[in-house]
């Protein structure tokens, strides 16, 4: 783990009408670290990740990314800088193959007899390379994603982020819609992401997953940070106590 955080959220507040969705929250994320964001519904987890990914703008506070203070006008800008968010629905086109999804919106072209045509071969081989790094087995790269398992689809979404050089990866409940074996694969995926130096923010309701994968845990309650600890130094009782405020 390097000393310099890749992402620093400094004293960020956000109000929606009269509701304090976030109040003076600060969070650091280091390269190669998995930070778990825990909290009950309405604790402010979604607001926080939406501020980081450029969907919302903070009312107060600053965000530092890669050593510079940043404001992202929209998620597109955040993504261009290397902050990728993988939502629960994964944002994949199930009718297209792996390569087409990895390159969605940024398809490479080649020239055939002077005409620009899609370079499907390049899409396929580079997508395969991106997934090989993640140690994910997909046998058929010409099939639509519809025919793949939940874990494989998750891998494609992560592979896409990696291929486009994400430095920060935000994952919203990545294991929520999966069966147990698939959950384990995603946990393994996140661990291999760490090794490639990506900083991961991991949102989950599942404390077992949080303890299985995270290095550090930040607990939010009613828009405030109520606890932060190294995962090794705590246990689920303490996290639950922070979450419910007992």
């Amino acid at each position: 783990m390097s000393e310099q955080p890749i992402l620093q959220v400094q004293s960020v507040s956000k109000r929606f009408g009269g509701v304090h969705a976030l109040e003076n929250v600060s969070v650091d994320l280091f390269p190669g670290e998995v930070l778990a964001l825990a909290g009950d519904n309405g604790a402010g987890k979604s607001t926080l990740i939406k501020i980081i990914s450029g969907v919302h703008h903070p009312d107060e506070g600053k965000i530092w990314y890669d050593g510079k203070e940043v404001t992202f006008e929209n998620p597109q800008k955040a993504r261009e800088q290397g902050i990728e968010t993988i939502y629960q629905d994964l944002a994949l086109a199930d009718n297209l193959d792996v390569g087409a999804n990895v390159f969605l919106g940024r398809e490479p072209m080649k020239r055939v007899f002077g005409l620009p045509v899609l370079d499907r071969k390049k899409m396929r081989t580079e997508a395969a390379d991106a997934l090989r790094v993640l140690d994910i087995r997909i046998n058929r790269f010409d099939l639509p994603l519809r025919s793949m398992s939940g874990g494989q689809r998750q891998a494609v979404a992560i592979g896409r982020a990696i291929h486009w050089n994400a430095k920060v990866l935000i994952m919203d409940e990545p294991t929520a819609a999966l069966g147990v074996p698939e959950q384990r694969k995603v946990i393994a995926l996140i661990k291999s992401l760490k090794q490639s130096g990506v900083g991961v923010i991991f949102i989950s309701h599942n404390l077992i997953d949080i303890f299985a994968v995270s290095d550090r845990i930040v607990v939010l309650r009613r828009g405030k940070k109520v606890g932060e600890t190294a995962t090794q130094a705590t246990n689920s009782d303490e996290i639950v106590r922070w979450m419910v405020g007992g």
């Binding site: 998620p75 597109q76 993504r79 629905d89 994964l90 944002a91 994949l92 086109a93 199930d94 009718n95 297209l96 087409a100 969605l104 919106g105 940024r106 398809e107 072209m109 005409l115 620009p116 045509v117 899609l118 519809r146 025919s147």
Partner: protein, 320 residues
């Protein structure tokens, strides 16, 4: 794949029918082949644009009367300019004006659907009425005959014994095939139909693509109107009235899903051929023409049923 099998059985069926009842050949008669090709032109031209619209998860109900509108505009402008201008120039002017006129319904459809989020079914149904009314108003409620020698010789002429309208349609079909399967635009059409939200998040300009799609659809319909006028030497507001359903049928028989995300131009070509073979074949074996509607209707239902069964058998996830 499924559509090929359909087409094969239809051709064999009509061949057997013709042999048994009339002791003649259906398939090996070159006149029949040319007639079926000409029968295919109308539904196929409307279906080409429709295929892309359907893949994107939309539908264009206005194409039939957009075709009629283009036919009437083409005839009126041709009649105004013939005599004033040399025939070829009059043709070019009339074509340009007719294609521009046919783009208007498409542009409005696209804006309604992309910007104001009107459901495609409703937006284009409205445009169906508007285009229909305006076409009849422009035509004065009747068909508009034309008297341009060049146009009628194109409409009924042949090159290397292939009808010129068929050749024009083949060229356009190849261009659309390329656009859909090889271009970034085509890829984005599939992506929008597969997952609109994902396309937006991937930075695809969904509304600009949607507007382009509906303009493209009305342009192929407009070309259909021009070719119709050339073939019958008259422009009629109702030129494409029965072709709307044929075009949707061709797309669906060709394997596109009305839920969006799948379909091919090749499939649509086969679909249009199937419709043309049914229509021409039933005339050839001397069945009352109204059975055509019944037969095409049954084929649509069967192809959707086969599609669903295939999906269940292959165990693919179906999003309900």
């Amino acid at each position: 794949m499924r559509a090929w099998i359909f087409l094969f059985f239809l051709l064999v069926g009509f061949e057997i029918w013709a042999q048994l009842v009339y002791h003649t050949t259906f398939l090996l008669n070159p006149f029949n082949a040319a007639s079926i090709a000409v029968f295919t032109v109308g539904p196929l031209l409307l279906a080409l644009g429709q295929t892309l619209v359907v893949i994107s998860g939309g539908i264009d109900l206005s194409v039939g009367f957009t075709m009629g509108l283009a036919a009437v505009v083409f005839s009126e402008v041709l009649n105004l300019s013939t005599g004033v201008l040399p025939d070829p120039l009059a043709l070019v002017v009339a074509m340009i004006v007719a294609l521009l006129a046919s783009m208007v319904p498409g542009l409005i459809n696209g804006l309604l659907i992309a910007k104001l989020r009107v459901p495609p079914f409703i937006g284009t149904l409205g445009m169906y009425g508007v285009a229909r009314g305006i076409a009849y108003l422009l035509a004065g409620g009747a068909t508009v005959p034309i008297a341009n020698q060049l146009v009628s010789s194109i409409g009924n002429g042949s090159f290397l014994s292939i009808p010129i309208v068929v050749l024009i349609t083949i060229v356009l079909t190849l261009a659309m095939m390329f656009l859909l399967s090889q271009s970034r635009f085509g890829q984005h059409v599939y992506a929008i139909g597969g997952n609109r939200q994902a396309s937006l998040r991937a930075g695809i300009n969904v509304s600009r693509n949607t507007i382009a799609l509906y303009i493209l659809s009305s342009l192929t319909a407009g070309l259909g109107g021009i070719l119709y006028t050339a073939r019958f030497t008259a422009g009629a507001p109702q030129a494409g009235e029965t072709l709307l359903l044929d075009s949707i049928a061709a797309v669906v028989i060709g394997g596109a899903s009305l839920f969006g995300g799948s379909g091919t131009i090749t499939g649509t070509v086969i679909g249009a051929l199937i419709i043309a073979v049914i229509q021409y074949g039933l005339v050839f074996v001397n069945v009352e023409p109204f059975w055509q509607f019944v037969a095409v209707g049954i084929v649509i239902i069967i192809s959707v049923l086969v599609d669903q069964t295939q999906k269940q058998l292959s165990g693919a996830r179906t999003d309900e």
